[in-house]
């Protein structure tokens, strides 16, 4: 656990929570992490972000990509700290701007798999404009949004995905702003691939992330997570394990959702997990390559 989180929440480090000596060797996924980086991670023990990291590593592995050909670009936040531990080309940028940096990188290196890792605040508050424009352009980037419904890193202020009426350090009387439906926004803005799962459903995340990375176009996976340290504490939602388990009960697969009656659908409050869009549209860097070919061929 990192000093800033300990300080922010007045927590004491429990040495017993640190992983055993041979933790690295025991896991195939962890073996794929960076060897020269100091561990443990900055995340609070029990945080869901690590599950997304595991899913991402497995997805890249599953696709048989060379690590040299993968670039991870992140903004700022607990979620955005993920790339530092991972053995790819990694760029930790400024808050909200991951997709704009990734856009430049993708245009410079269209052959690379460029993956942007963002929190909900990163992607949708400060970075909301870049999010819709990257989707509109169909830029060949995979965006992974880790939605924990809160600003975790800064200690629990409400975000654009904090549910109505729940509390945050800056919404002490309950949040009066309605949340953004991230997937709907991505669909409306023109993304080629849009899917959502939760950190409880790790294997489903693996699958969606690997499909998203394979897509030649703007792809977006919303990984619903939780922040027990801030949001969970303020809203009295229990431990990390309690919040993890809740994701199982408060979510529903797309298939199961499809079987609901129209009335049940209207009243549904569960998180729908599934792949909502998977279409082919001209990908920006391909379009630009064609433009270069045309112009160099003498077209005015």
């Amino acid at each position: 656990m990192n000093d800033h989180i300990r300080e922010a929440h007045g927590l004491e480090v429990d040495e017993g929570q640190l992983p055993a000596e041979d933790w690295f060797e025991r896991s195939e996924t962890l073996q794929k992490l960076r060897r020269n980086k100091k561990f443990p991670t900055i995340w609070c023990s029990g945080c869901g972000i690590g599950v997304v990291m595991g899913a991402l590593i497995r997805a890249i592995d599953h696709l048989g990509l060379k690590n040299d050909d993968v670039a991870l670009v992140a903004g700022i936040g607990c979620s955005a700290r993920m790339p530092i531990y991972m053995d790819y080309n990694t760029l930790h940028t400024t808050h909200g701007r991951a997709l704009a940096f990734a856009t430049g990188l993708k245009i410079a290196r269209p052959d690379m798999k460029v993956i942007a890792i963002m929190g909900d605040g990163d992607a949708l508050a400060i970075g909301g404009n870049h999010f819709i424009h990257a989707a509109r352009r169909n830029m060949g980037i995979t965006a992974i949004v880790i939605n924990n419904s809160i600003y975790g890193m800064t200690g629990g202020q409400y975000s654009p995905t904090t549910p109505l009426n729940s509390r945050a350090t800056t919404a002490p009387y309950g949040n009066i702003e309605p949340p953004f439906p991230i997937c709907d926004l991505a669909v409306a803005a023109g993304a080629s691939y849009v899917a959502r799962s939760t950190v409880y459903h790790a294997l489903e995340l693996d699958k969606f992330i690997s499909e998203a990375i394979s897509k030649d176009g703007f792809s977006m996976v919303e990984a619903v997570s939780y922040c027990h340290t801030t949001y969970g504490r303020i809203n009295k939602l229990g431990t990390a394990a309690d919040m993890m388990r809740a994701l199982k009960d408060t979510s529903i697969s797309q298939t199961a959702y499809g079987n609901l009656s129209p009335e049940e659908k209207t009243n549904n409050t569960k998180i729908v997990r599934g792949n909502f869009v998977n279409i082919d549209r001209p990908q920006y860097t391909n379009s630009y390559s064609s433009l270069i070919t045309r112009i160099q061929g003498g077209e005015q």
């Binding site: 000093d3 960076r34 020269n36 980086k37 100091k38 690590n67 040299d68 050909d69 670039a71 670009v73 790339p83 530092i84 053995d87 790819y88 080309n89 990694t90 760029l91 930790h92 940028t93 400024t94 701007r97 704009a100 940096f101 990734a102 856009t103 430049g104 990188l105 993708k106 245009i107 410079a108 290196r109 052959d111 690379m112 404009n129 870049h130 424009h133 630009y288 433009l291 270069i292 112009i295 160099q296």
Partner: protein, 371 residues
């Protein structure tokens, strides 16, 4: 090539092409837009890429991303857009990623006067982003110099791994002059980056005065870039024993190379006790005023700064030792004059300022030489 009539903004576009710039990201803003227009037309012809981003924050981010990917990259903007770029200019400085930012200054503050000239961003170019950091800013005085200094901006940016600001103004940007540009094939900048994997790589090796080479993403060094304080491998650190050597190298990396970075023109007159010191469009006024003053018998030196940041401290100090008074004409309320005063003392400096969108006139400078 052949003599062509072109404006400063076009010359900047051609300078970028000549220097090997192959990526431009920007957001339209008067009086800089022609730079984007010419590059949207010319870049694809040479296999380069142009994108109009959703705002200047994104434009600045995109050029950094493209630079990491291996392309020489540039953006162009003016006052309001330059303000929006500041956080990511600091990012490029901190992570030592080369890029060129053109600021065609217009009258501020705020929306100000989009079509009027100004030199009001001198201090912003130096201190606009938070925290201490090295930065280079160059300021052309003619259309041809706009071309030359754009090429130079790319060279310095690559060599010293720093953002370089081409701090020009509406007058130079929109003024048309006949220019004879050199054959671009004669302009070959050295490759300062690692474009192939070759042995071990320590991205932020700390040797004082040293600029470790940048490895492009994808060449086989899978390393980390962050604008948090970082250790030599690029990983964030809070350890003072790792931060201090980095700070030392980072903040002194330009100092040992001032001979290479500082460019200025001097027109001296034996026995001169007066000098005019200027830059950008105001340097043109100053040259004219110098000629008029000399014609009426005054002995006047002229110093024109092409590099304004880092500030040429030693050169200005030496000027202050030679002459009794230095006139500093500029289209702001005395931003560069602060620096001159810092070097030679307030008593020796006479500011000639104008911040209403009009140029400083030669007569204003002549009056200052009298009084």
């Amino acid at each position: 090539m052949s003599i062509k009539l072109m404006q400063g903004n076009d010359a900047i576009g051609w300078g970028a092409i000549a220097a090997g710039c192959r990526f431009y990201a920007g957001y339209p803003i008067t009086p800089s837009t022609e730079v984007a227009e010419i590059l949207s037309r010319e870049l694809p012809k040479v296999g380069g890429k142009f994108i109009q981003m959703e705002d200047e924050i994104a434009s600045m981010a995109a050029i950094i991303g493209a630079s990491v990917g291996g392309l020489k990259s540039m953006t162009a903007t003016s006052g309001p857009g330059f303000s929006l770029m500041q956080e990511n200019i600091g990012y490029a400085a901190m992570t030592e990623i080369p890029c060129v930012i053109v600021d065609v200054q217009r009258l501020g503050p705020s929306t100000g006067q989009p079509t009027a000239a100004s030199q009001g961003d001198v201090m912003q170019a130096r201190w606009g982003t938070h925290g201490d950091h090295p930065i280079i800013a160059l300021s052309p005085t003619s259309v041809r110099q706009a071309f030359d200094l754009t090429v130079k901006a790319f060279e310095l940016s690559e060599k010293y791994r720093t953002p370089v600001i081409l701090l020009t103004d509406e007058i130079i940007g929109h003024m048309r002059e006949p220019v004879d540009l050199p054959d671009f094939k004669t302009i070959q900048l050295p490759e300062y980056r690692l474009t192939k994997k070759d042995g071990e790589y320590i991205p932020y090796r700390n040797e004082p005065g040293d600029v470790p080479p940048l490895a492009n993403f994808g060449v086989g060094y899978r390393y980390h870039i962050t604008a948090l304080f970082h250790d030599q491998q690029g990983f964030s650190t809070q350890r003072v024993d790792e931060i201090d050597p980095w700070l030392e190298r980072f903040n002194s990396k330009l100092d040992k190379h001032l001979d290479d970075i500082l460019m200025l023109e001097e027109d001296r007159m034996p026995g001169a006790q007066l000098a005019i010191l200027s830059y950008g469009a105001s340097a043109r006024t100053s040259r004219h005023a110098m000629k008029l003053a000399r014609a009426r018998g005054q002995k006047v030196d002229l110093m024109t700064l092409l590099t304004i940041w880092p500030f040429p401290e030693a050169q200005v100090e030496a000027l202050g030792e030679r002459v009794d008074r230095i006139i500093v004409p500029e289209m702001n309320l005395g931003q560069l004059a602060y620096e001159v005063e810092r070097m030679v003392g307030r008593k020796k400096v006479k500011r000639v300022t104008r911040a209403n969108g009009e140029m400083v006139t030669p007569q204003m400078v002549l009056d200052a030489l009298e009084g």
